[in-house]
């Protein structure tokens, strides 16, 4: 008798693998999803390896070289230089670091808070649900940018304050999404089984319900990363985010607006860089949505 069940089959059943493969195909058959994944992966790599990749790492801070002021794009400076003579390609690569830091921190703070409140609301129901949802509705009664603006305005503007301002309202979307998911899972048999087996509320919420809400949450986070980056860049553009000489992408676009249209590259390249990254996250998120086959409002 031959052993035709390989080790792999024993760990993951063929049916499971078939399912994964089909999900993967749903993702990979959509060229835009793949392009999105490539963009996001490349930008993350660029940002992580910035000190090794950027042509002039010393141009990141308040470096000046006025002899090279406003050099047009060339082989030496593919994106040109700004007023202080700093290489814009270098600054854009480092700007990606700040954008990704912003998205990562905002989601890192906002998602756990929102998910937890949403689980509590959806699983508990009753007045707890009503109270939590009323609170989120209040936050959702304003465009995020306006609220972030109001919060950012009371402090000295910095990247950290922009992160705080955006994070302090971003949890609401996750509270709403998770509440809906948890409320529909609550009455399912596996939850009732866990409750009958004597599992505590926290255990049911975190170990039973949460794992079944992960794919919509992941999709939402990917799509949101782009929106968070846009919101942060907009705050920086107005002057309430990253301050010069730090290379915020929105900050760079704003500083270039005074030199349009002659020195167009100062604004255009950083702006285009934001566009590419956000586009990448949106296409990736959309691909993941098809792959997991979930409905997520954006």
């Amino acid at each position: 008798m031959s052993t035709d069940t390989s080790t792999l089959d024993r760990i993951v059943s063929p049916a499971q693998r078939e399912l994964w493969y089909r999900s993967y195909r749903r993702f990979a058959d959509q060229p835009m999803s793949v392009v999105g994944a490539v963009i996001v992966a490349s930008v993350i790599t660029l940002a992580l390896l910035a000190p090794y990749i950027a042509p002039y790492p010393e141009h990141v801070g308040s470096y000046t070289d006025f002899a090279n002021s406003f050099a047009a794009p060339s082989l030496d400076h593919p994106f040109g230089t700004d007023k202080a003579g700093r290489d814009l390609l270098t600054r854009v690569i480092y700007g990606y670091r700040l954008s990704l830091l912003l998205a990562g921190t905002v989601l890192g703070i906002g998602v756990p808070i929102g998910v937890f409140l949403g689980l509590v609301a959806g699983y508990s129901g009753g007045w707890i649900d009503a109270a939590i949802m009323r609170l989120t509705d209040t936050f959702l009664a304003l465009p995020p940018l306006v609220l972030a603006l109001a919060i950012a305005s009371v402090f000295e503007p910095t990247l950290e304050i922009a992160i705080f301002a955006v994070a302090s309202l971003w949890w609401t979307w996750y509270a709403r999404l998770t509440r809906g998911l948890a409320a529909s899972e609550r009455s399912k048999e596996y939850v009732q089984a866990a409750e009958l087996a004597g599992a505590g509320r926290l255990h049911v919420m975190l170990r039973e319900i949460l794992p079944n809400c992960l794919s919509p949450l992941l999709v939402k986070m990917t799509l949101d990363a782009g929106i968070v980056i846009l919101t942060g860049a907009s705050l920086s553009f107005i002057g309430l985010g990253v301050q010069p000489p730090r290379p915020g992408l929105g900050t760079m676009v704003a500083s270039g607006t005074n030199f349009l249209p002659q020195q167009w590259w100062v604004s255009i390249f950083p702006g285009f860089a934001i566009f590419v990254l956000v586009l990448g996250f949106n296409m990736l998120g959309d691909g993941l949505r098809d792959m997991f086959d979930v409905e997520v409002e954006q």
């Binding site: 465009p143 950012a152 305005s153 009371v154 402090f155 107005i238 249209p261 949106n282």
Partner: protein, 342 residues
């Protein structure tokens, strides 16, 4: 009457949301660090000056009393004096609001007028070249930062092609002759009977409105496409085709009417999004509206003005969502309004 009954929970929810928002804004403006009086006067003001302004602003009373004063002021529209213009904030807001409304209304019209047909075309050509092109366009439109597209439009149409002016609402040579009647430049220029000034107002409006409309346009295209695709598979559409009705009639009369419901819901949300987006666009195009006033009040820490602008936008947002709910309820009474879900 029935409709009223269905909408009552929604109305009370709205009121609570607005109250909550007033508490939030009050907290932001008073409780967070920093003395508003000090911030308004700057670091070089003497302590006495700060103390005098603080008592003028009622800052030395207990917080609860301050909140009561603030909320009773809000209810009668008394928002205090703006520290930057020295006018009552409400007056400033009423003065600035038409410019913003004009901008976002045209933006919304552009969004719908371009977005819905593109979504329908994409759905009709599912999988084809037109569908893919629209898809790429829709993705790009939602991903592009509004300030970036604004600058690109300025550079192309303002500087290089020199087709449109890039700042303000009206050229100087007309602005002297136009008296303010409604505050809406398109209407005021018509009232003044000047066709040239009217055309000039349009020329000023078109670029900012277009720049503002991109993000929402992308969303409208996507939602219209996907709901049209969903509807196409429904029995009653198949039946209409089978009946031999012309294709365009089925698409525009039956499919689109039903596909419009999700689109309308999104449009309500987009209105709020436009108010936020206007903050950026008004800065780039030097548009003298509410959003620009709001940003200036942030930069000059003009607390009263900031509270006024934030509450006005909150109110407009909540009202818009309510109006959308009323329309949705009219179109299809079976829809569960967001407020009734328990």
């Amino acid at each position: 009457m029935d409709q009223l009954k269905r909408l009552i929970p929604r109305l009370s929810g709205m009121t609570i949301s607005l109250l909550g928002l007033s508490v939030l804004v009050f907290t932001i403006s008073r409780v967070l660090p920093g003395n508003p009086a000090r911030m308004a006067l700057g670091a070089r003001a003497s302590d006495e000056q700060v103390a005098r302004l603080a008592s003028e602003m009622g800052l030395n009373k207990p917080l609860a009393a301050q909140y009561l004063e603030y909320i009773s002021g809000l209810l009668v529209g008394d928002l205090g004096l703006s520290l930057q213009t020295r006018n009552p904030v409400l007056e400033d807001i009423i003065f600035k609001l038409p410019a913003t409304l004009e901008l976002i209304t045209l933006s919304l019209v552009l969004m719908i007028a371009i977005g819905i047909p593109l979504g329908v075309i994409a759905a009709q050509n599912r999988g084809g070249l037109l569908d893919n092109m629209t898809r790429v366009f829709a993705f790009s439109a939602v991903s592009v930062p509004s300030f970036f597209i604004a600058i690109v439009l300025q550079v192309i149409f303002g500087f290089y092609l020199d087709l449109f002016p890039i700042t303000g609402r009206l050229s100087l040579k007309y602005s002297q002759t136009i008296t303010r009647e409604t505050g809406f430049m398109l209407i005021d220029t018509l009232l003044a009977g000047s066709v040239a000034a009217h055309a000039n107002a349009w020329a000023h409006l078109i670029l900012p409105a277009l720049a503002l409309s991109f993000g929402g346009m992308g969303q409208i295209i996507r939602i219209t496409r996907s709901s049209m695709v969903d509807i196409e598979g429904k029995d009653f559409i198949e039946a209409s085709h089978g009946f031999g009705l012309p294709r365009w009639l089925v698409v525009y009369k039956y499919s689109l009417k039903n596909a419009f419901i999700p689109t309308l819901t999104i449009i309500g949300l987009l209105y709020a999004w436009l108010l936020g987006g206007a903050f950026i666009i008004e800065i780039v195009f030097g548009w003298p509206g509410l959003a620009k006033y709001g940003v200036q009040s942030v930069l000059t820490t003009d607390v009263n003005a900031l509270v006024g602008v934030t509450m006005t936008i909150g109110l407009m947002f909540v009202l818009t969502n309510f109006i959308v709910d009323v329309i949705l309820d009219r179109i299809d009474p079976r829809i569960q309004l967001a407020g009734d879900a328990t």
